[in-house]
Structure formats: structure tokens, C-alpha cells
């Protein structure tokens, strides 16, 4: 046994149940845990918060990594990595999952960051809440091995929840961690984790597990691909990301797309982005706020007016007045609402 004083471990804490439990299992062994959470700019919870729908329970929108830190009694440091991470999203070495989710590269990216923290803190190893066989792309055995190797953490990456299914790591071999007190959880069922949470008195955790990443969302991914294909300005981690999640999106030309608010909360959110942009609405009617990205010529403005009319309460009329505004400029258009058939070709 080789025990070099206080054992320190660096963990990736998403705030989900698994990473919270993994940290707790190690803390039960007297290990000093340092938690990190990397903010990628693609958390759907963050986006829901930005829109701020009234009536949505605050607890459902909380930052789960912060909540996990409070439960564990440790600071989980949130580290912004949006721009760097975006390169991983656009150029993943191991490809995307079903949507724009680069799950394997994402894990490697975050574990490299954790390794840097391990080195800086003089910690002994890194841990995660990964569970063997839980996720199809990144948590099968060969993926776990690949991730560990690519992150430069061979032998130094402990997965406490599935450790007994996995080869012994250096922390176990050297007696820094008692393997017998680690776990043998595998698969997609959460029964084992929920039972363990009860044992530890951890009552609040997000349901269902995971699912906070917008990149796994089909609609969001389609819109992000559209942004990339048209080389539209996009800064991850800003409200550019939130705009992809809000409203109905239509690509009108290579340079121009529109976002149509679906309710008052979305209209209010879009209204915060009017500066320097064209925006459309139907006066004296139930109307969406239609925000334009790009600079539409008069013909395109007419077309956008027709989209606006289609989603207004006057969509059944043959001709509708629409107001188009950009700063001090204001135009009044009389247009026929667009048909759904004509719209579908532009829907993103």
C-alpha cells in the first residue's frame, strides 16, 4: 500500500445523480474531492432560464452543479469553456452522435481539463460519474478506454459507480481508494443509483438523468447545422445559442433567416434583440414578434411580412397589414398570409 498523505481527487460534476454519487462515494472514503463543471454554452436549462417563462418552477431551472456542491458540501467550480468547446462541436475526432452531440470528444475535452486541474492541485486522480453501458455512444467499455487514453489519464481515471466492472486503476492498486467500497453498477436502469441516493440522504436530483445538452436535441442541432452551413455569425455561450432554441425558424435566403415568437415569453425574449435588426408584427392583433437575422431586401421583407401575417390572429384574412421596423425606419406592408405549404420549404 502506498498512501501519500491526504488523497485528493478531481471530479467532473455535472450535477446529475451519477456524478453527485460518485463524489459522495469517494468522500465516504475520506478523499478530498475538488469538483469542476465546464460550461459549454449548450445547456438547455440555461436557455430556458434566459427565456424566463413565468410560472416555471425555479427549482426546475436551478444550476444542478451548484445544487450538487451544496449537497456535497464542496465548491463545484464552474469554468466557462464555450469558445474552445465549440471547436470540439464543429470538428469532433470521433464524430457526432444522433445529432450534433460529440459525446466521446466532449468527454475527452473535459477530462483533459480535469487532468490539468489534477496536475495544478497536486491531486492524485480524476473521477467521473460514468456508468458502464448507460449511454450508447460514450459509456460502453471500448469508449471508456478510448476516452481515458485520449485524455492522457490511463490508470488515473476512476469511475466509482462501475469500478468493480472495470480493470483496477492506479488509485485502487496503490490503496488510495478501497476497491471493495466502490460499486458495480451498470446499464441504463437507475435503480442502483436511486437506492444509493436514499442511503446517502440525497433527495433532490434532476429527473430524468442527463438530458441537459442541447446538442442531443434534433431541432436545436438542425438549426445549428443551418448556422454553420450559412456561415452566420454565432458565438457560443451568448444569446446566439438561446436564439436557436426560441421560436420557429425559417431560412429565407443564404443571408437571411427569421425567428417567429410562439408566445408572450418568446416575444419578450426576442424583443431584447431588436437593435440593428428588422422586426415585424401585425398591429392591433394577436401577433408574433418576428425577428430577422440578416439584411432583407424589399422583396424579402414582403415575404417575411407574409410569414408574420400567417402566425397572427388575422391569418384567415386575404390581406393583412404588417409593420416592419428597423430602428427609426418603419414600413407598412399589405400582404396575404403565407400558406403552410409555402412555409414548409423554409422551415429549419
Amino acid at each position: 500500500m502506498d498512501i501519500p498523505g491526504k488523497i485528493k481527487a478531481v471530479g467532473l460534476i455535472s450535477g446529475g445523480l451519477d456524478s453527485t454519487l460518485a463524489a459522495r462515494v469517494l468522500m465516504e472514503q475520506g478523499i478530498e474531492v475538488h469538483g469542476f463543471n465546464y460550461a459549454t454554452g449548450f445547456c438547455s436549462n440555461d436557455q430556458r432560464r434566459a427565456v424566463g417563462r413565468p410560472g416555471e418552477a425555479l427549482n426546475r431551472l436551478r444550476n444542478e452543479a451548484v445544487r450538487a456542491g451544496a449537497d456535497l458540501g464542496i465548491e463545484v467550480e464552474i469554468v466557462p469553456v464555450e469558445k474552445e468547446y465549440f471547436q470540439v462541436v464543429t470538428h469532433p475526432k470521433f464524430g457526432h452522435g444522433a445529432n450534433m452531440n460529440p459525446c466521446i470528444d466532449c468527454r475527452i475535452f473535459m477530462l483533459k481539463k480535469a487532468k490539468d486541474r489534477m496536475d495544478a492541485l497536486g491531486a492524485h486522480f480524476v473521477f467521473t460519474g460514468e456508468v458502464l453501458g448507460q449511454r450508447p455512444m460514450s459509456q460502453h467499455l471500448s469508449a471508456l478506454k478510448t476516452i481515458e487514453r485520449e485524455a492522457g489519464l490511463e490508470g488515473l481515471l476512476l469511475r466509482p459507480l462501475s469500478a468493480q466492472h472495470l480493470p483496477e486503476t492506479i488509485p485502487e492498486q496503490r490503496g488510495w481508494v478501497d476497491r471493495e467500497r466502490l460499486l458495480a453498477i451498470s446499464g441504463r436502469s437507475r435503480r442502483g443509483q436511486i437506492a444509493l441516493a436514499e442511503t446517502f440522504g440525497i433527495g433532490e436530483f434532476p429527473q430524468p438523468s442527463g438530458g441537459c445538452c442541447s446538442l442531443t436535441d434534433e431541432t436545436f442541432s438542425r438549426r445549428l447545422r443551418d448556422v454553420l452551413a450559412h456561415r452566420a455569425p454565432f458565438e457560443p455561450g451568448t444569446e446566439d445559442s438561446v436564439l436557436l432554441k426560441v421560436g420557429r425558424h425559417f431560412r429565407i435566403s443564404h443571408q437571411v433567416k427569421v425567428v417567429v415568437g410562439r408566445d408572450e415569453a418568446e416575444n419578450a425574449f426576442l424583443a431584447r434583440h431588436l437593435e440593428g435588426r428588422w422586426w415585424f408584427e401585425v398591429p392591433n392583433a394577436g401577433s408574433p414578434l418576428v425577428l430577422v437575422q440578416g439584411n432583407p431586401d424589399p422583396a424579402l421583407r414582403g415575404f417575411i411580412g407574409r410569414i408574420t401575417a400567417r402566425y397572427s390572429s388575422r391569418k384567415g384574412e386575404t390581406e393583412v397589414e404588417v409593420v416592419a421596423t428597423r430602428g427609426e425606419i418603419q414600413e407598412r406592408l399589405r400582404v396575404a398570409p403565407l400558406t403552410d405549404q409555402d412555409l414548409d420549404a423554409h422551415r429549419i
Partner: protein, 93 residues
């Protein structure tokens, strides 16, 4: 103006304006700011993200800082945190 446990005192030692920023930016900025402050100092954080009312107390609990409460001014939330833990004490200045 609504109050909930906001401190009745002369004023904070530092003010951090995070209005217009959403999760997790206010917490990241708060953590960075408070690292520069002295033990016992009070930080006032301004935010218009209502979920900060859940996150800030939780963050304080995780770090050991004292959450002193908040005050509402229109859509702005003013939250007060007293720094605890390591570092020089404000009283020692």
C-alpha cells in the same frame, strides 16, 4: 421594494452587476469577485435572472459563505453574500 432577509447595514463592500447575464455567468462572476475580497466582506450581486434566488444560496452553502438574503427592486434582484473561509479578514484591515 420587497425584502427578504437583506441586511440592514450601511452598504456592501463591493457591488457586482450581472444584470443581463444568465446562468451560469452570474455564479462564475460572483465566484471570481469573491476570491478577490477579504474574509467578512459583503458582496452585493445585482441580477435579473430570477433563478439566482435558488442558485446563490446553494452556491454559498457549497463554499461556506454566508448568504444574507436579497432585496427586489423592480426586475432587479440584489443579493448579499458575506465572504467566509480562507484569506485575510476584513476586520484585520
Amino acid at each position: 421594494m420587497a425584502r427578504e432577509g437583506a441586511p440592514e447595514r450601511s452598504g456592501p463592500d463591493e457591488i457586482l452587476d450581472t444584470v443581463g447575464f444568465y446562468c451560469p455567468i452570474p455564479i462564475i462572476k460572483t465566484a471570481a469577485k469573491i476570491r478577490e475580497m477579504r474574509q467578512g466582506d459583503v458582496l452585493e450581486v445585482l441580477s435579473d435572472d430570477r433563478v439566482i434566488l435558488v442558485d446563490m444560496p446553494a452556491w454559498c452553502k457549497s463554499c461556506g459563505h454566508e448568504y444574507l438574503g436579497h432585496r427586489l427592486e423592480g426586475v432587479e434582484i440584489h443579493l448579499f453574500v458575506r465572504k467566509a473561509g480562507r484569506g485575510p479578514s476584513a476586520a484585520a484591515r
